[in-house]
């Protein structure tokens, strides 16, 4: 399945892109599996997702926990905990 992944803050810097369209293996069930797949894909991913507990995620604009399923997602945002305001 093809979807858009966007990165923010230091995750964006480590990935070297703000956004990419990826073709995901169908066996990736949830966000935890997605982070593991990105970490295994290349050196940048290994760096950005070495500590998945430091990553927060939103699917189609809604914050989701690590076991949230990917099925039906169009856009996934990955980022550190917010520090704003």
């Amino acid at each position: 399945m093809a979807l858009t992944i966007s990165y923010f803050a230091w995750v964006r810097e480590q990935m070297g892109v703000a956004e990419e369209v990826v073709e995901l293996p169908v066996e990736l069930a949830d966000l935890t599996a997605l982070l593991a797949w990105l970490a295994a894909r290349d050196g940048r991913g290994a760096l950005a997702f070495a500590e998945p507990q430091r990553i927060r995620a939103a699917i189609d604009g809604v914050m989701m926990g690590p076991r949230a399923p990917l099925v039906g997602a169009r856009e996934i945002a990955l980022f550190p905990p917010v520090t704003g305001g």
């Binding site: 966007s6 923010f8 803050a9 230091w10 964006r12 939103a58 604009g61 945002a77 980022f79 550190p80 905990p81 917010v82 520090t83 704003g84 305001g85």
Partner: protein
Amino acid sequence: MIRVAVQAAAIDVGAELDLHDAGGHGASASFVGRVRGDGGLVELFLEHHPVMTEAGLGDLAHAAADRWQLGALTLIHRVEAMAPGDTIVLVLASSPHRSEALAACEFLIDRLKTDVMLWKRETFGDGRVTWVEAREGDAVRAERWAR
């Protein structure tokens, strides 16, 4: 009247006050947060998720309007590059009642720190660039409002 904005342009506090006060209100509380130049900071960059930040501010504003009797509410957040002294955030809450205006203002500023999709990057005079880590204190303050 609810006014919410996320903008890279400087926040014109005087103009926002005039806009907010157009109706005249019994009590108005405000909060202005500015960039501090601590430790030799020369630039603060606020990265944001455009869709989620706008939605988050809008949800917060409506939560406050549901909870307190407000005649007007203004919530403006600046994003992208700022210098020390620049206004990052402006909250204005007006009500016929003093306690409602004060409570709404405090609620909004506390929740802003945790509910809005923003990340801070600090650049210092000596060249260091760091992403600010999330602070426990903000989450604790915001939780007071959870009930």
